[in-house]
């Protein structure tokens, strides 16, 4: 273990943290509006294949990010229509979205398997900051998507906590009937939140395919969308705490191979299991806490709202 390997580890921690944070932030927005979307894995996959397609076609990561956001947003719209507009079971619809997204991305990406990498997200022109020892590579030499993720995290917090739009969205997620009575359109709010969630999952998929996997392959998401879902629970539906969780879970993903080069005798299988084990632990702590004070979860999550059944 030396400076190079530790810096290398921290660079990876941020990269995996960004990957998880983008997807988790999207899921957080949807859940705050009361819609559970278990389709994150499928939306990431669609975003990933869209970004790679775009990279082959246009060669621009920025265009790739936009295309990935649109593609995953459209997929999220399917969930919004089924689970929000039609009021179907959110769990069933979300799971179907994952299966559908993984299958569709594999089908669309057939001819991109094993192609050489397309252009990655580059770094910001920060000049000499990037040359700084230790801090330079860890913070300032990161792709600009990392900064975008941080900005989106702040923006999400600001909108949710400090604006009327955010208040309306949270109200819909806590008590749809009351929000409805107060003149907030439950359907519009929820559909919009789910689509925003899809767009962010698409961003995450684009970052995964362009910068981390450096290529498209079927099943490239490899369960990381599920870690993002768990992360929202870990983060207690708060953007800030979710960011810390993203760095923690991202750190575990980054540690898996690195621990071995550090000569630490821990089974890599055990490390890869940890994000889920921690989430289960957090759920246990939450459920014990919630006996004494209100749960952090949006009260109306998972429940379809129909005015006539009020």
């Amino acid at each position: 273990m030396n400076e190079v390997t530790i810096v290398g580890l921290l660079v990876d921690v941020i990269a995996f943290g960004v990957l998880l944070y983008l997807a988790a932030l999207g899921e957080l927005v949807a859940e705050k509006a009361g819609v559970l979307n278990l389709g994150v894995e499928g939306m990431m996959a669609i975003g990933g294949v869209a970004a790679f397609w775009s990279g082959v076609q246009f060669g621009s990561p920025l265009v790739g990010l936009i295309v990935a956001g649109i593609a995953a947003g459209l997929l999220a719209l399917v969930h919004a229509l089924v689970a929000v507009v039609l009021g179907a079971d959110q769990v069933v619809s979300g799971l179907a979205l994952t299966i559908f997204g993984l299958g569709l991305s594999a089908f669309l990406g057939k001819e991109y398997v094993s192609l050489p990498p397309v252009e990655q997200f580059g770094t910001l022109p920060l000049g000499s900051l990037r040359e700084l020892r230790i801090i330079g590579p860890i913070l300032f030499d990161q792709p600009w998507v990392a900064w975008l993720a941080a900005a989106l995290g702040f923006l999400t917090w600001f909108v949710l906590e400090r604006t009327r739009v955010g208040l309306g969205l949270r109200a819909v997620g806590e008590n749809a009937a009351t929000a409805d009575a107060a003149g907030q359109s439950v359907t519009v709010t929820r559909v919009a939140a789910v689509v925003v969630g899809g767009v962010l999952a698409g961003f995450s998929g684009a970052f995964l395919v362009l910068n981390l996997a450096k290529g498209w392959t079927e099943g490239v998401t490899a369960g990381r969308g599920w870690i993002a879902v768990a992360l929202v629970i870990f983060g207690a539906w708060r953007p800030g705490r979710t960011a810390i969780g993203a760095l923690l879970f991202g750190g575990l993903l980054a540690l898996e191979p690195r621990l071995q080069t550090f000569g630490v005798e821990v089974s890599p299988i055990l490390v890869s299991m940890l994000p889920y084990a921690i989430t289960i632990g957090v759920l246990v702590v939450f459920s014990i806490q919630s006996r004494h004070r209100p749960s952090a979860a949006p009260a109306a999550i998972g429940r379809a709202y129909r005015r006539e059944e009020r």
Binding site: V92, A96, I99, L104, S114, L253
Partner: protein, 406 residues
């Protein structure tokens, strides 16, 4: 929930499943653009049968693959073997890809092939072993050849594998000569005998050309996940490795070492098209073995067995890179392996990480047991080296850094 809602959900779920199925079975060997080595590939064969080139032969061969064939790895090489065997024997062949191990998809695919009159079925993933054994018992008129397993019966079910450790040794020679940092990285999937054997053979090859170099191993716990593979490769690069190789199914390790300006030694197939830092690769060539099995079925004299072919049989191979300073030595070892004058583990001392001599000039120096069944002794002290020792190998040789237990 209203009736309409239920129908809608069912429809959506069904649509999802259909799309997922499309994703896994819509084949088409569309790799011509990505790998120059597949000049003879026939696009769009899918699960449809290709036209039999030889009229009158009623032998038809089918292949079941665990992942998409377009991955430049394990399945890609099996598909090349299928195409090669079709050309060599003139029989009709077909394949299905992305069939999970231990699932109903496998049963459906194999049953469909049997119903369609296929009478030789190759199942090309380890996890198909038990299901293949069951199908063989139920369908005595169909020959089943399972790849990379160890089960067989007396009539219609055999297994095939290749001595990949032989070209791995030669690849190690090239790596030892290429490294400047004396640190070579090895990205491995799982700590099982097949992978450990390959690492040891590679490390012995490294020792032959560079006694000062070490081979550092990182386990990924996955056969195929480019993100983890690339991340593991980067960890090895950060730890000082300037030459990388791998036992994985993607080219992610090669991408990472290319970006770092080092040298890559591939696996499975010639990856020179995909990877800039490519030097050479131990490769599979299933055509001769597939052709042999198909020909024996045509002639009606198929005998099941445990086939473990080596470089002499052409099942495994390696291209000697002219640019390597030890190219002549590599060529000599290759010739000696093919002629039988040399094999990897029966020459000199094979010493484990603790300094114990395990094998000395082909004689086992200490009792060795099966790691999956410690009560089973595969070789006693003083026994001659046998394939059982190789097939259960669970120790690392002395110049490997890492844990053979994962």
């Amino acid at each position: 929930m209203t009736r309409t809602m239920k129908i809608l959900i069912a429809f959506l779920a069904a649509f999802g499943l259909i799309a997922a199925a499309c994703g896994s079975s819509t084949a088409g060997s569309d790799d011509e653009g990505t790998d120059g080595a597949v000049a003879s590939d026939d696009a769009g064969s899918e699960t449809e049968s290709d036209d039999a080139m030889e009229e009158g032969s009623d032998v038809k061969a089918a292949f079941v693959m665990v992942a998409p064939v377009g991955d430049a790895g394990w399945n890609f090489m099996h598909d090349k073997g299928r195409i090669g065997a079709e050309a060599a024997t003139g029989v009709e062949t077909a394949f299905v890809e992305a069939i999970p191990e231990g699932g109903a998809e496998f049963d459906n695919a194999v049953q469909q092939f049997i119903d369609d009159g296929f009478n030789v079925i190759f199942t090309t993933s380890f996890g198909y072993m038990d299901a293949t054994e069951r199908f063989a018992a139920e369908n005595p008129d169909v020959v089943f050849e399972h790849i990379s397993g160890f089960k067989q019966n007396d009539t219609n079910f055999g297994n095939t594998f290749g001595r990949m450790y032989q070209p791995r040794y030669i690849a190690g020679m090239a790596a030892g000569a290429a490294t400047e940092s004396n640190k070579i990285g090895y990205v491995g999937a799982f700590p099982i005998p097949e992978v450990i054997r390959g690492i040891n053979a590679f490390a012995l090859g490294v020792a032959a050309t560079n006694p000062d170099a070490t081979v550092e191993v990182v386990w990924t716990s996955t056969w195929f996940d480019p993100t983890v593979e690339g991340n593991s490769a980067q960890a090895l690069i950060d730890a000082g490795a300037d030459v990388l190789t791998m036992h994985q199914d993607s080219t992610a390790t090669g991408q990472a070492i290319t970006d770092a300006g080092g040298t890559f030694i591939g696996y499975h197939s010639d990856m020179s098209e995909q990877v800039g830092a490519y030097l050479t690769a131990p490769v599979w060539n299933w055509t001769p073995r597939y052709s042999e099995v198909i020909e024996s079925v045509k002639a009606g004299n198929y005998q099941p067995g445990s086939y473990w072919g080596g470089m002499a049989d052409g099942v495994v191979d390696i291209t000697i890179p002219d640019s390597s300073p030890v190219a002549a030595d590599m060529q000599k070892v290759k010739d000696d392996i093919i002629s039988g004058d040399f094999d990897v583990f029966d020459t000199g001392d094979v010493v484990d990480q603790d300094g114990n001599v395990i094998i000395s000039n082909g004689v086992v120096q200490t009792e060795l047991t099966d790691p999956f069944d410690p009560s089973r002794v595969v070789a006693a002290e003083g026994d001659a080296l046998n394939d059982g020792v190789l097939l259960t190998m669970s120790f690392f040789v002395e110049n490997v850094v890492g844990s053979p237990a994962g």
